[in-house]
């Protein structure tokens, strides 16, 4: 019985997180499609591409890396230019989207 209740609570928890994240992930996917997918793919980069895959990467890492690229504290000609257009919201959404994909 307790197990059931626990499971129920867990499920509810999972469902509600899912619901909260859903909008964010959808927005993240749209932004990723427009800004990142050209190199990193909408799920995974081309097998022939020199770009790192992002699917399933740690969300905090993705957020900090993107913010650093945007703020030019981490140097990369191409990433500084591309991340430069992202807002804080975009960064959270995009990071949530890629982090949530199965690698």
């Amino acid at each position: 019985m307790r197990l059931m209740a626990l499971l129920g609570a867990l499920m509810l928890g999972l469902l509600s997180t899912h619901r909260v994240n859903a909008a964010v992930i959808y927005a993240g996917q749209a932004r990723a499609a427009a800004v990142c997918s050209q190199c990193h793919g909408i799920k995974t980069p081309s097998a022939d591409a020199p770009f790192p895959p992002l699917a399933g990467r740690d969300v905090a890492y993705l957020k900090s890396a993107l913010a650093q690229y945007r703020d030019k504290t981490r140097k990369s000609d191409i990433m500084n230019a591309i991340a430069g257009s992202l807002t804080d919201n975009d960064i959270s959404n995009v990071a949530a989207y890629y982090a949530g994909l199965k690698p």
Binding site: Q38, G41, K43, S46, A47, I78
Partner: protein, 532 residues
């Protein structure tokens, strides 16, 4: 004409200089050769081996005149969003990119390179020597070979490991096989007489003969440098392939892929000028032992009889800049799209003459076309990919050969899908913004758009499964998946991952000839029974 002459003489001079000039200048042309190699290895499959453009714009001194080298370098580095142009950052060095830009901005479009019947013959590769060793039936579970759907996957870079033809069972939506095509796969055609053979053509004009039972390539041949034209004769004995570069077409033995005859594509265009021409659609028909081929620039359709000497009947003045086409009435009538005068010309393949020119939208691209029977009428659907005020899908009565309706849609369209058992005609919106993610569905009876699907990625080339129960759509460009919908509920039922999927080709096409017609159209027409 003057420009062509000038370009020609320029390239003659360039060739001569390369031969004659002393060492210093030779170094410069070595460099040009190096750059041309780089272009061939990275750009030519889309932009054309002659720098004149293919599925992507031409890149030569004329077309790039006045463009900022910095802007061009940026496009090469980062790619171009909402197009197939991939980022070459990390694949080409900064020096190579600079060199390419400089080379292309100073090189005129090249003269038509030679690719003769001997070159074609020499290019035949035999991968499976003894075809009797192949399995007698499919090595995978499938109820009906017509349930196979082939997808032309371009691969992100238009070449490499992502470039392949992928075959899917359209009942289970699971991949059953794939064959590598080196460069982007473009067209998949099936042998109407023997269900085991498929032919895949890639963007560098190589054709692969594929054994669908064992899912492997048994032979290949290179028919030119670029060009998608490919058709198979109704008896399954011949293949005809047409090229953009060079301006020729070839008939091959469908069994051995050995070339039998080449055709130089040239003729007098509707404005009275003698031109050499890209090859547009090449089509075999269940109606007769013929091929029809569209000469894009010459505005002519040639009908080739599959008999001794392969004689040609030329139909002139079909339109300005022809492209693709579809068959109707048992394959005896051909509807040919003409870009520049926004018409679709109906041709009688029996009489070998023009029946009528029908109004289309702007820049008609019928993409294989669709025809459905509704309330006793055969309706043809034509997509139009120009972006203009009049964004419509044209609907024609194919019995009376008249316009029934121009159905307003949300943007330019490239390819319609229809099936006798599916309620909607699906068209892909390709306008370069968010609309490109969508497919619109036109109700067969009301002839109005009733639903818009957001597929994600650049959604194009819809195709119904042979039973009509499922609608397959490529989410190309940034989508990298093929998405499957239930044809009636339009619920998404599956997704199959691949790089840059484009054209989708159901094996069922050999049964219904043109998508949307009743399933046994091909057989009926071949027997000359059911043809109306």
């Amino acid at each position: 004409m003057k420009i062509t002459k000038k370009l020609l003489s320029q390239s003659v001079i360039t060739c001569l200089t390369a031969l004659l000039l002393p060492l210093g200048a030779q170094a410069a042309s070595d460099d040009a050769q190096k750059m041309h190699k780089l272009y061939e290895d990275n750009c030519a499959s889309c932009h054309g081996s002659d720098l004149g453009g293919f599925i992507a714009p031409g890149l030569n001194a004329e077309s790039l005149k006045g463009r900022s080298p910095t802007a061009l370098r940026t496009i090469i580095m980062t790619g171009s969003f909402d197009t197939l142009m991939p980022p070459f950052y990390g694949r080409l060095s900064d020096d190579e990119i600079r060199g390419l830009v400089k080379h292309l901005q100073s090189t005129p479009k090249l003269a038509n390179p030679a690719w003769t019947i001997d070159d074609i013959k020499a290019s035949v590769k035999v991968i499976v020597k003894d075809e009797s060793t192949l399995p007698a039936k499919p090595i995978y579970e499938i109820d009906d070979i017509n349930n196979i759907i082939g997808v032309a996957a371009r691969g992100k870079y238009g070449r490499g490991s992502g470039s392949k033809a992928v075959f899917i069972n359209s009942v289970t939506h699971k991949q059953i096989g794939e064959v590598a095509t080196g460069t982007a796969a473009h067209i998949i055609d099936y042998n109407p007489a023997n269900p085991r053979w498929a032919y895949v053509k890639n963007d560098t004009a190589e054709i692969f003969k594929v054994d669908l039972y064992s899912m492997q390539v048994v032979r290949s041949v290179k028919t030119g440098f670029n060009g998608p034209g490919l058709g198979v004769s109704r008896d399954g004995k011949y293949i005809m392939a047409g090229s953009y570069v060079p301006h020729n077409a070839v008939i091959l033995d469908a069994d051995t892929l050995e070339p039998l005859k080449t055709f130089e594509l040239e003729g007098i265009d509707p404005d009275g000028k003698m031109v050499t021409s890209d090859s547009g659609m090449v089509i075999g028909t269940p109606f007769a032992d013929i091929f029809a081929i569209a000469l894009e620039n010459a505005g002519q359709v040639w009908v080739v009889d599959l008999k001794e000497g392969f004689p040609v009947t030329k139909i002139e003045n079909v339109g300005r800049h022809l492209h693709d086409a579809f068959l109707t009435h048992g394959g005896s009538k051909l509807m040919v799209a003409s870009y520049d005068d926004s018409i679709v010309t109906a041709i009688d393949l029996n009489e070998r003459k023009i029946i009528k020119k029908l109004e289309a939208g702007c820049v008609p691209h019928v993409g294989g076309g669709a025809a459905v029977e509704v309330d006793g009428r055969t309706l043809g659907f034509g997509t139009n990919f120009g972006d203009c005020d009049k964004m419509v899908v044209s609907v024609w009565d194919l019995d009376k050969m008249e316009v029934v309706k121009q159905v307003p849609v949300s943007g330019g369209t490239e390819s319609p899908a229809a099936h006798a058992n599916a309620p909607y005609v699906a068209v892909d919106i390709i306008s370069k913004d968010r609309r490109a993610r969508t497919i619109q569905l036109i109700d067969k009876k009301t002839l109005e758009v009733v639903k818009t699907l957001d597929v994600g990625g650049h959604a194009y080339f819809p195709e119904y499964s042979a039973d009509g129960k499922f609608l397959y759509v490529s989410a190309g460009y940034s989508g990298d998946e093929v998405v499957v919908y239930d044809s009636t509920s339009l619920e998404k039922v599956a997704s199959i991952a691949m790089e840059s999927p484009a054209g989708i080709f159901s094996h069922g096409r050999v049964k219904y000839m043109t998508r949307g017609l009743s399933p046994d159209e091909f057989e009926n027409a071949s027997k000359m029974k059911g043809a109306k």
